[in-house]
Amino acid sequence: MTDTILPYLTLGAILFCIGLYSALTKKNAVIVLLSIELMLNAVNLNLVAFSKFGVVPSLQGQIFSLFNITVAASEVAVGIAILIALYRNRGTSNVDDMNELRK
């Protein structure tokens, strides 16, 4: 069974959907960032699975997911920094309170 690509892809899809649900539902901004990380991880799993079982199996998938990890890490660092600055300004880290986009 695990010598096909299907279970890995399915697992990736499940993790992605769970991450999506939690990103759109949680109130704490840190948790939202965390769920975005989860989604990125699911993508990585996808990439690596394709690198082994895909049409042209090669190491490209793993290289790509390396880069993905890098970008994700830097993004989360900057995100947390912004969040901290925002918290200092507003006194709250609740996503619902940040609705300036309305105007």
């Binding site: 695990t2 697992l11 901004a29 390396l66 890098t70 830097s74 660092a77 920094a81 619902d96």
Partner: protein, 174 residues
């Protein structure tokens, strides 16, 4: 059917895959259902670790190590730092939003359904790659020969990112 399950569990890779998948999904689900924020981070860390195990099953050892180092190590700790710095109750408040939740379920199930449908209909040739003995070296070779430019760009990106993070998070007026 019991025969199928027995067959499934006869192969070692299958068992490992099953365990790792269980932990990954379990971690994700627990993340959603916990109320304390720190518990959520711990659950996600469990997911990251099981994903690392899955990478090993997929012959991506280097990637598995990187995954453990970066995600289960740095990112989770960073999240906990973030929680600490934003200093709130430590609990996640419950809000009832029926419209939102139902539409969200519709969307999520829609995405998953389409993806699953696509997966069912895909056929890939069963060619298996001979796994390299030292994937790390192979990756290194590829990285510095063919993908050197993206590699350098990544380093620039990281530099910019951490400078930016420092600037943003600096306390003003000090």
């Amino acid at each position: 059917m019991l025969g199928n399950i027995a067959d499934f569990f006869s192969s070692g890779t299958n068992v490992m895959f099953f365990l790792f998948a269980l932990f990954a999904i379990g971690g994700a689900i627990f993340m959603i259902s916990f109320t304390k924020v720190v518990s959520m981070v711990v659950a996600v860390a469990v997911t990251f670790l099981s994903l690392a195990g899955l990478y090993v099953l997929l012959n991506a050892e280097f990637l598995a190590t990187v995954q453990v180092l970066i995600y289960a190590g740095a990112v989770s700790i960073l999240m906990i730092f973030g929680i600490m710095m934003t200093r709130h109750q430590g609990e996640e408040p419950e809000t009832k939003r029926p419209w939102f939740t139902s539409l969200l379920w519709v969307g999520i199930l829609g995405v998953f359904g389409i993806l699953f449908y696509a997966f069912q209909n895909v056929t890939f040739p069963q060619t298996q790659r001979r796994p390299p003995e030292d994937s790390t070296m192979e990756i290194g070779k590829l990285l510095f020969n063919e993908h050197v430019i993206p590699f350098e760009l990544m380093s620039i990106l990281l530099t910019v990112a951490f400078i930016g993070a420092i600037v943003l998070a600096k306390r003003e007026g000090e």
